[in-house]
């Protein structure tokens, strides 16, 4: 038995990204629909705030009346800490599946806290990779390595806010009746590309380990290697950040180019899933293609196909890259630079703080 009171083994590398809370007798003492008064369990507020600061988002899976439960959370001053709360009469495993889908994370990054072994067992049976925790072990959560991220950046602290901005933005998008691209034009999207500085290194490292779908090679680099690359004259290590009128998406893309005499090789392109529908991968590719043409370089790119990054493969191919060699899992692309696409009209681009058009 480990300190969380269960026998589950968890792969060391899978940190918890989301904690899902039961309410009755877990978050608070008492059963909302039965007791006149419920009281917050001691230390819960501090725990929730600390998890929030660590970039671990939180949600709710409670069999309760939605209005009553939300009102109670508002009364306790905790309402804003939870995203995509599931408060209904479904099975908890269904609630957690919905939450995972809404947040777009794997169930293996979710921890579920409930005082009832019946509920924990139901979830474990349906979703075996969810970490189920008995409410009596709440005190040991903060010290558990799974709840301690390796690094905390500005983006980490704002993670919940970003999800909340996204919810507003998505709602506006749903209600928009024009064409999808007209909607994008209303967002005032600004993309910033800049050279990676020391202060970015942790976020770069975080992105290389967390991003799987929109990742061209899956190459990961240590903090030291990234520091060296950011200072190397033979490399461009660039980080992209995005914002629109609803808020910031944070730092969401990485480009690594190896520069030789007459050839540039794009070694890594990755984009956070957070901005999946904004066309950022394609725009970053087009930026590099245009730059290579302007600088009169040959442009190659490395690609490692996985079972999750077909979308990135398509992005490269549709941007005009063609396969030249294939060694085992490594594909080498080449771009003939004959067709250099332009920047879409709905987005403004700044490179190292200078406005750029192509």
């Amino acid at each position: 038995m480990n300190s969380l009171g269960n026998n589950q083994q968890k792969a060391k590398s899978v940190k918890i990204k989301c904690v899902v809370w039961d309410l009755d007798n877990t978050l608070w003492n008492g059963t909302l629909l039965e007791d006149k008064l419920v009281t917050l369990k001691e230390g819960i507020s501090d725990l929730i705030i600390e998890l929030d600061q660590r970039g671990i988002v939180q949600s709710i899976a409670s069999k309760n009346n939605y209005e009553d439960a939300m009102n109670q959370l508002i009364e306790f001053g905790l309402y804003e800490y939870f995203i995509y709360p599931e408060i209904n009469w479904n099975q908890k495993s269904q609630m957690i599946s919905s939450i995972a889908k809404n947040i777009n994370i794997s169930t293996n990054a979710i921890a579920f806290i409930d005082d009832q072994s019946f509920e924990r067992d139901e979830v474990s049976y349906a979703l075996p990779d969810v970490l189920c925790i008995d409410a009596i072990h709440i005190d040991s959560i903060l010290d558990n390595p799974l709840f301690n991220p390796d690094y905390i950046t500005e983006d980490t602290k704002n993670r919940r806010k970003m999800y909340q901005d996204a919810i507003v933005r998505d709602q506006v998008e749903k209600e928009f009746t024009g064409n999808p691209d007209e909607f994008l034009a209303t967002l005032d999207i600004v993309l910033n590309i800049s050279e990676v500085m020391d202060g970015d290194l942790q976020r770069v490292e975080e992105l290389t380990t967390r991003t799987h779908q929109l990742n061209s090679t899956g190459y990961t680099y240590s903090y030291e290697e990234l520091k060296t690359l950011s200072q190397s004259k033979n490399h461009k290590l660039l980080i992209a950040s995005l914002k629109d009128k609803y808020g910031s998406y944070g730092k969401i893309g990485i480009i690594l180019v190896e520069c030789e005499d007459d050839t540039w090789t794009l070694k890594l392109l990755l984009v956070s899933c957070r901005v999946l529908s904004r066309g950022i991968g394609t725009i970053l590719l087009n930026y590099i293609i245009n730059e290579a043409k302007v600088e009169n370089k040959k442009l190659k790119a490395e690609f490692v196909q996985t079972d999750r990054n077909r979308i990135m493969y398509i992005a490269y191919r549709f941007a005009g890259f063609k396969e030249t060699e294939k060694n085992n899992k490594l594909t080498v692309f080449i771009h003939d630079l004959s067709n250099t696409p332009s920047l879409p009209s709905y987005i403004q681009l700044y490179v190292n703080d200078k406005k750029v058009i192509f």
Binding site: G178, N179, P180, D181, E182, L184, L276, S277, R278, G279, G281, T282, R310, I311, M312, Y313, I314, A315, R317, F318, G320, E323, P344, Y346
Partner: protein, 98 residues
């Protein structure tokens, strides 16, 4: 016999195009698309769109698209998508009913 085959082929092509148009509505809204209009120039399209288009073709016309066929030329207009499907499906493209 020849005339019947030609008519059948034309109906099949129209059926395929109709299915493609129906799929494209969710990306292009109510905008009317010409058969030879380049989707990648009409408005904003991204790799998410392309990925969904590739998956749509694979699921609805029953074949896997190989890497060498992932050329934007095969997907840029309703005509080219239809042509591509026809070329891959041999003589009898199966149009899956919803």
């Amino acid at each position: 016999m020849l005339i019947l085959d030609e008519k059948r082929e034309m109906n099949l092509m129209e059926e395929i195009k109709a299915k493609i148009r129906k799929f494209l509505v969710r990306f292009f809204g109510q905008r009317e698309l010409q058969d030879d209009e380049n989707l990648y120039e009409v408005g904003f399209v991204n790799s998410l769109f392309s990925m969904q288009l590739v998956t749509f073709v694979e699921n609805n016309f029953d074949f896997e698209i190989a890497n060498e066929d992932l050329d934007v030329k095969n997907f840029s207009t309703i005509n080219s998508i239809c042509q591509f499907i026809k070329s891959k499906s041999g003589d009898d493209p199966e149009v899956n009913q919803d």
